[in-house]
């Protein structure tokens, strides 16, 4: 029983990272219809940049996180304005090819600059254990979960209750009507892409401070984000969160009771089962998008 609680706690911790990371992917898909295969590389870049500003430059973790958020927002904005813009409204294939190319470019550029060794990010809080009844977590993990929750809530409030968020939803639902209302849709697309990039990068930095940053790990991250998005429903905000937590829990339980070496297989199982039984995901995008 105690083991079960521990596995559940571990699962919820990694599930919240999956949720934050998948949120960026699902927003970019739901709002822009772009399937971003470079998502894992944005996550990886967040980690590398986080390592650079904290461990390498010696900045405080929170200052570093702000730097990463600002830098990656600018990066996402530029990627949209200079790359995605060129394939906008041409269907899904050109943007898939473009983002696959971008992912290859980013991974190899990062390998060239920082090499293959895992990078450690100096954490925000000590890595001391915290006992919650029979469950033991670390302060750092609790902090990272809280940070994920704050970022998810911030993204939600931005999309639901701000002028920019309304403009995002309006542009997605009907770009022509958005233009007629005076919305500069090109800026809305770029802002949406920047938001998705920031969500990926900040989860990369948070997770990097618990484990370490692997420059070549982007592919696996993208894969898991896709699992979550397929499970939750492409473009669904709630789906990304619920899907992330389910994947985290399933992996932790599989790792605890079945075999810890094969957890990555769970994601594929979930995708297969979702596609058979609920092909549009738990939260169908027909009803709720972003």
């Amino acid at each position: 029983m105690d083991m079960l609680l521990q596995f559940v706690a571990n699962g919820l911790v990694s599930g919240s990272f999956y949720a934050l990371s998948a949120l960026g992917l699902t927003l970019i898909f739901g709002l822009m219809r772009v399937v971003n295969f470079a998502h894992g590389e944005f996550y990886m870049l967040g980690g590398v940049l986080g390592w650079f500003v904290t461990t390498y430059l010696g900045l405080n973790f929170f200052v570093g996180l702000v730097v990463v958020v600002v830098a990656m927002a600018a990066f996402g904005w530029l990627v949209d304005r200079f790359l995605i813009e060129r394939v906008r409204d041409q269907g899904e294939e050109p943007s898939i090819l473009l983002t696959i190319g971008l992912s290859i470019f980013l991974t190899n550029s990062a390998l060239l600059v920082v090499g293959t060794a895992p990078l450690n990010i100096a954490g925000a809080v000590p890595n001391a254990p915290v006992f919650l009844g029979p469950v033991v977590l670390t302060q750092m993990r609790l902090f990272a979960v809280a940070a994920c929750a704050v970022l998810i809530l911030a993204a939600y409030l931005l999309i639901r209750h701000t002028r920019l968020g309304r403009a995002m939803r309006a542009t997605f639902q009907d770009p022509m009507a958005a233009r007629l209302a005076g919305i500069k849709t090109a800026y809305v697309y770029a802002s949406t892409f920047a938001l998705g990039t920031v969500l990926a990068a900040s989860s990369g930095m948070l997770l990097g401070s618990i484990y370490s940053v692997q420059v070549s790990g982007g592919g696996l991250i993208s894969l898991k984000a896709f699992v979550v998005v397929i499970l939750g429903g492409m473009g669904s905000f709630a789906g990304a969160i619920v899907g992330g937590l389910i994947l985290g829990l399933a992996e932790a339980l599989w790792g605890g009771y079945v075999s810890s070496g094969t957890v990555d297989v769970i994601g594929f199982l979930i995708v297969i089962l979702t596609l058979i039984f609920k092909p549009y995901g738990l939260f169908s995008t027909q009803v709720e998008r972003a």
Partner: protein, 239 residues
């Protein structure tokens, strides 16, 4: 025919969709305070003309002057800011947003929250049914209510010229009458109106002048009253 300097003047407007030309030199003008109708058969180029005026389409040739300023080819968002609001064919409300959000977005260029609230209050006074449904998803409204919402949304930018593309499309005759009453009232408050309408009688009823569009050019231009008296002329043009 109209006042000395027209508010809107379109001359020699050519527009193409890709390689296929849709307009071959449209000439028309609208004076401040008028209601002008644009009529013509399906596919004649009425919507294309409106879309080009509001900046959704870029003309290949020709000029559009608004209040003495050239606006042809300008981006749609700058044209709204200049005072032209376009209520498009088939309404194009945002179905998965509430009535309130649709209106807020109509006031996207407002400079303050208070200004948005004040204009929304005016919209609710004009359309009490929208106030009752302000938290409802716009997609769940009836056709007539959606048209009211589309007009209310366009008015949130406080335009000097309101462009309406087939406002009675798909509405019951009673509902259509209600829409035209509202258009008259909006005009009486000083907003100039350019309207495209399939129902020619309704159009000529509210308009002072009308242009007949035929395969991308203006074929006739006359007072609404004289067109109404010559139904045979009209049917020849409208097919």
């Amino acid at each position: 025919m109209s006042a000395s300097t027209p508010l809107l003047q379109v001359s020699g407007l050519h527009v193409a969709y890709g390689k296929i030309a849709a307009l071959h030199g449209i000439d028309m003008e609208v004076a401040a305070g008028e209601i002008v109708a644009l009529i013509g058969a399906n596919g004649a180029g009425k919507s294309t003309t409106l879309r080009t005026i509001s900046g959704l389409l870029k003309p290949s040739r020709g000029s559009i002057t608004w209040d003495g300023r050239e606006i042809a080819g300008m981006d749609a968002e700058r044209i709204v800011a200049a005072g032209i609001a376009h209520c498009p064919e088939e309404r194009h409300i945002w179905p998965a947003m509430t009535v309130r959000e649709n209106l807020m977005l109509g006031g996207y260029l407002c400079t303050s929250r208070a200004q948005v609230e004040q204009r929304m209050e005016q919209a609710f006074q004009r359309f009490p049914r929208l106030r009752e449904r302000d938290r409802q998803m716009a997609g769940t409204l009836s056709g007539g209510e959606q048209q009211m919402l589309a007009i209310a949304r366009a008015l949130m930018s406080e335009p000097r010229l309101l462009i309406l593309d087939e406002p009675s499309l798909g509405l019951s005759p009673k509902m259509a009458d209600e829409v035209f009453d509202v258009v008259r009232e909006i005009n009486a408050r000083g907003v100039t109106v350019l309207v495209v309408e399939q129902n020619v009688h309704n159009a000529l009823d509210i308009a002072s002048r009308a242009y007949v569009v035929e395969t991308g050019v203006i074929s006739t231009h006359a007072d609404a009253a004289s067109l109404l008296e010559n139904p045979e002329v009209l049917s020849a043009y409208l097919g």
